[in-house]
C-alpha cells in the first residue's frame, strides 16, 4: 500500500557558531490519505522543525536537512527545485501557523492575502478568487464573510484570525494540512472551537492532517495516530487509543502524568517530569531521555534505543518499555480511566 506522505530518516541540523544543533535526528512516519497524525512533544523537541523540513522552509543558513527522504506523490520533496517546491507548498501541502496575531500581513486586506495563493496555484482571476475566498470564510464560520474580505487583519480577533488562517490554508484544496500548534496562542474556549472546526473540515474535505501540539489532551479527540517526539527523535508512535491505554515509553507516561484530569475519580497529584530538556548541541549517543528517566539502567546510557514494535502498529524506542507499560496500566487502574 502506498502512503500519501512518507517521511524516512529525516535529519535536520542547524550549523551555528556554538556548534551543531541536532534538531531532528532521523524521524520516520507515514501518513495515509484522509488520515490525521498528531505530533506531540515539548518545546525544542523538533516537532516544528520536522514539518518545516518537509515543507522545505528551514532557513538556510544556518539550517539544513542533512539526510532522509520525504516521498509525496512518488517524488522526493527534498530533491525538488525551488520552483517545483513552490508549486507543492500551499497547493498540495498547506500550513496553518501558531500565532494568528503575527501570521497575517498587517498591510494587506484579508481578501488580498487569501486570493494570492489561489491566483497563483489555481490560475483563476481575481473576481473568482474573491468569490471563493468569501465561501471559504463562511465555511470556517466567519459571519458576513463577503464584507470582511476588505478588512485588515487588525480588525479581527485572535480566534477569527486563526479561522482566516485555516481558510487560507484550505483555499487550494491541499491534500495535506499541517497545523503547527494552531491553538497554542488562543484561549481555551477558542481552542476547542478551532479543534472542532478542523475536525469538521477534515471530514468534509477528506484531507490528511498533521497536527503539531504539546498538549496530549488536544490531540486525543482529533487524530487517529500520534507520534511523540523528544530531543529530535520519535520515541513512541501508536494509534491514539492504543497510546493512551498501553503507554509504552517513560516520556509519554510522564506527559500523561503531568496532565490534569477533569474526571479523575481519586485526587491525584500531578507528577512533573524531573530535569530539563537535553542540550541539542551534544550529539546524542545514549537514550536522550535517560537523564530524566526513572527507569534508566546502564544499557540506556550505552546505547540509544531505536523504535521497535511493542504491539500492532505501536512502536516504542525504549529498552524498558515493558516496565513503563506496567506502570501506565497501574496508573489507569488507580485513576479509573480504563476504557
Amino acid at each position: 500500500m502506498t502512503h500519501l506522505l512518507e517521511v524516512r530518516n529525516l535529519e535536520t541540523r542547524f550549523f551555528t557558531e556554538e556548534g551543531i544543533v541536532h534538531a531532528v535526528n532521523g524521524i520516520t512516519y507515514t501518513l495515509n490519505e484522509g488520515e490525521s497524525l498528531g505530533i506531540v512533544g515539548e518545546s525544542g523537541s523538533g516537532k516544528s522543525v520536522g514539518v518545516l523540513s518537509v515543507m522545505g522552509l528551514i532557513p538556510n543558513p544556518p539550517g539544513r536537512v542533512t539526510a532522509g527522504e520525504v516521498i509525496y506523490g512518488g517524488r522526493d520533496l527534498l530533491k525538488l527545485t525551488p520552483s517545483e517546491m513552490r508549486r507543492v507548498r500551499g497547493h498540495e501541502i498547506a500550513m496553518v501557523f501558531q500565532d494568528p496575531m503575527t501570521s497575517l500581513n498587517p498591510v494587506l486586506t484579508i481578501g488580498r492575502q487569501m486570493t494570492e495563493a489561489m491566483e497563483l496555484h489555481l490560475s483563476i482571476d481575481h473576481e473568482t478568487a474573491m468569490k471563493r475566498a468569501a465561501e471559504l470564510l463562511s465555511m470556517v464560520g466567519l459571519p458576513n464573510a463577503a464584507d470582511r474580505l476588505n478588512d485588515y487583519p487588525h480588525q479581527f480577533s485572535g480566534g477569527q484570525r486563526q479561522r482566516v488562517g485555516i481558510a487560507m490554508a484550505l483555499s487550494c484544496n491541499p491534500s495535506i494540512l499541517i497545523a503547527d500548534e494552531p491553538t497554542t496562542a488562543l484561549d481555551v474556549t477558542i481552542q476547542a472551537q478551532i479543534v472542532d472546526l478542523v475536525k469538521r473540515l477534515k471530514e468534509k474535505i477528506g484531507m490528511a492532517v498533521i497536527w503539531i501540539t504539546h498538549d496530549l489532551g488536544v490531540v486525543a479527540s482529533l487524530v487517529e495516530k500520534v507520534a511523540v517526539m523528544y530531543s529530535g527523535f520519535i520515541v513512541e508512535t501508536a494509534p491514539v487509543h492504543e497510546l493512551y491505554q498501553n503507554t509504552s515509553h517513560p516520556y509519554t507516561l510522564g506527559l500523561l502524568e503531568s496532565l490534569p484530569k477533569v474526571d479523575a475519580k481519586t485526587k491525584q497529584r500531578l507528577i512533573p517530569i524531573q530535569g530539563l530538556p537535553p542540550d541539542l548541541l551534544k550529539e546524542p549517543r545514549h537514550c536522550p531521555f535517560a537523564p530524566r528517566c526513572r527507569y534508566a539502567v546502564d544499557q540506556c546510557w550505552e546505547e540509544n534505543p531505536s523504535l521497535k514494535p511493542v504491539a500492532p502498529e505501536h512502536y516504542s524506542a525504549c529498552w524498558r518499555w515493558e516496565n513503563a507499560r506496567q506502570d501506565a496500566r497501574q496508573r489507569m487502574m488507580t485513576i479509573g480511566e480504563v476504557a
Binding site: L57, P61, R86, S103, A117, N150
Partner: protein
C-alpha cells in the same frame, strides 16, 4: 485630563462618527499603516506647516511664467536674464533696462505700484536678476530633489532589499560596496566626482545630480537592509512562503511594504537636504553653468562681496531664504513622519 486618557491618541481612536467614516474610507483605500501615516501628517500642525511651505514652492514653480515671464518667447527659462554686464550689483527697485520680462503680469502693478519692470530684489554681479532666479530656481530645486532622491532611493531600495533578503554572501558583497562609498565624506566625494563629470557631460544639472546619486543611495540601502532583516523573520512572511509565494512576490508584497516606513522618513528629509548639497556644489562653482536659475548659484554671486554684505545683503538673503524655507518644509514633514512611526512615541501627542 487623566494620564490614561492622555495616552489615547486622537489619530488612532476616532472621536466621532464622521472621523470614523473618514478613517475607514482612507483605510480601505491605502491600508491601516498608510492611513495612520497620512492622517498623522495631516493632523500634526508642524507637518501641515511643512506641507503648506512645500505646496507653496510647487505653486511658485508651476506658475513661474506668470510670476516673472521670460524676456521673450524663445528665451531659455533656466537662464537668469542679465541686465547688462556691469560687475556692480544693483539695489532692489532699480530700473530694468535690458532683457526685462516681456510682459507685465496682472499682479505686478497693483502690488508694486510700478508700470514697468524693475529689479524687485536687485541684481547680482553680472546683472543677473535675483527675483527671476529665485522664482524659477524653485523649479530647479524641486527637480533636483525629485531626480536625486528618487534615483538614490530606487537604487538603495533595490540593493538593500537584495542584501537584506538573501543575506549570506550577497549581503556581504553588497554591504562592502556600500562601505566603499560611505568611506568618502559625502560632499567631498560628490565634489570630486562632479568635477570629473563636468568636462565629460558639460555644465548642466547632471554632473552634480549624478554625483549626489552615486554617493547618496548608500544610506537608503543600509537602512532598508536592516529593516528587511527584521521584517523577513515575521511569521506572515513564512506563512506566505508556505503558501508557495516566490522571492520576488515575498519581497514586493510582504516584506517591503512593511519595512519601507523608516526609509520614507529619510526620503522626505533628504528632499530638503539634497537641494542644500546641490546648492553647496553650485556655490563652489561645480555643476550648472553661470547664470542658471539655481539658488546656490545666486548665493555664490555674493562671494566677491563677502566683506560688503551690509550693502549687497539682497544677493544672499533672498535665495538664502528660499533655501531655508524649502529645507524647513521638508524637514517638518520628515520629522512628523518620524514621530508618527516611532513606536516609543506612539499614542502620544
Amino acid at each position: 485630563m487623566t494620564a490614561s486618557t492622555k495616552s489615547v491618541s486622537p489619530a488612532t481612536i476616532p472621536l466621532n462618527e464622521q472621523d470614523l467614516q473618514e478613517q475607514r474610507w482612507l483605510e480601505r483605500l491605502v491600508g491601516p499603516e498608510w492611513a495612520r501615516l497620512i492622517k498623522g501628517v495631516l493632523t500634526n500642525p508642524l507637518s501641515v506647516t511643512g506641507l503648506v511651505i512645500i505646496l507653496g514652492f510647487i505653486l511658485i514653480a508651476a506658475f513661474a511664467p506668470i510670476i516673472v515671464p521670460p524676456p521673450n518667447a524663445t528665451w531659455d527659462t533656466t537662464l537668469i536674464p542679465r541686465d547688462g554686464f556691469g560687475p556692480e550689483p544693483k539695489a532692489p527697485g532699480s530700473e530694468w533696462v535690458r532683457n526685462a520680462p516681456g510682459e507685465i503680469p496682472f499682479w505686478y502693478t497693483p502690488l508694486t505700484g510700478r508700470e514697468e519692470w524693475v529689479h524687485l530684489w536687485g541684481t547680482a554681479s553680472g546683472q543677473y536678476d535675483i527675483f527671476y532666479g529665485v522664482i524659477w530656481g524653485s523649479r530647479t530645486a524641486l527637480m533636483i530633489g525629485g531626480i536625486v532622491v528618487l534615483s538614490s532611493a530606487i537604487i538603495g531600495i533595490f540593493v538593500g532589499s537584495l542584501a537584506g533578503y538573501y543575506g549570506g554572501w550577497v549581503d556581504e558583497i553588497l554591504m562592502r560596496v556600500v562601505e566603499v562609498f560611505i568611506a568618502f565624506p559625502f560632499l567631498v566625494g560628490a565634489l570630486i566626482l562632479a568635477s570629473i563629470l563636468v568636462p565629460k557631460l558639460g555644465r548642466s544639472i547632471w554632473p552634480a545630480s549624478i554625483a549626489l546619486i552615486v554617493f547618496g543611495w548608500t544610506g537608503y540601502a543600509r537602512l532598508l537592509r536592516g529593516d528587511i532583516l527584521a521584517t523577513k523573520e515575521r511569521d506572515y512572511v513564512q506563512a506566505a512562503q508556505a503558501a508557495g509565494a516566490n522571492d520576488f512576490h515575498l519581497i514586493l508584497r510582504h516584506i517591503l511594504p512593511n519595512a519601507i516606513f523608516p526609509t520614507l522618513v529619510v526620503l522626505s528629509l533628504d528632499m530638503g537636504a539634497i537641494v542644500l548639497s546641490f546648492a553647496a556644489l553650485s556655490f563652489l562653482g561645480i555643476g550648472v553653468q553661470e547664470g542658471y536659475t539655481d539658488w546656490g548659484q545666486i548665493v555664490s554671486f555674493a562671494r566677491s562681496y563677502i566683506f560688503s554684505l551690509d550693502r549687497y545683503w539682497f544677493i544672499i538673503v533672498y535665495p538664502g531664504l528660499a533655501l531655508l524655507l524649502y529645507g524647513l518644509g521638508w524637514n517638518l514633514v520628515g520629522d512628523a513622519l518620524r514621530d508618527i512611526l516611532d513606536p516609543k512615541l506612539r499614542g502620544k501627542r
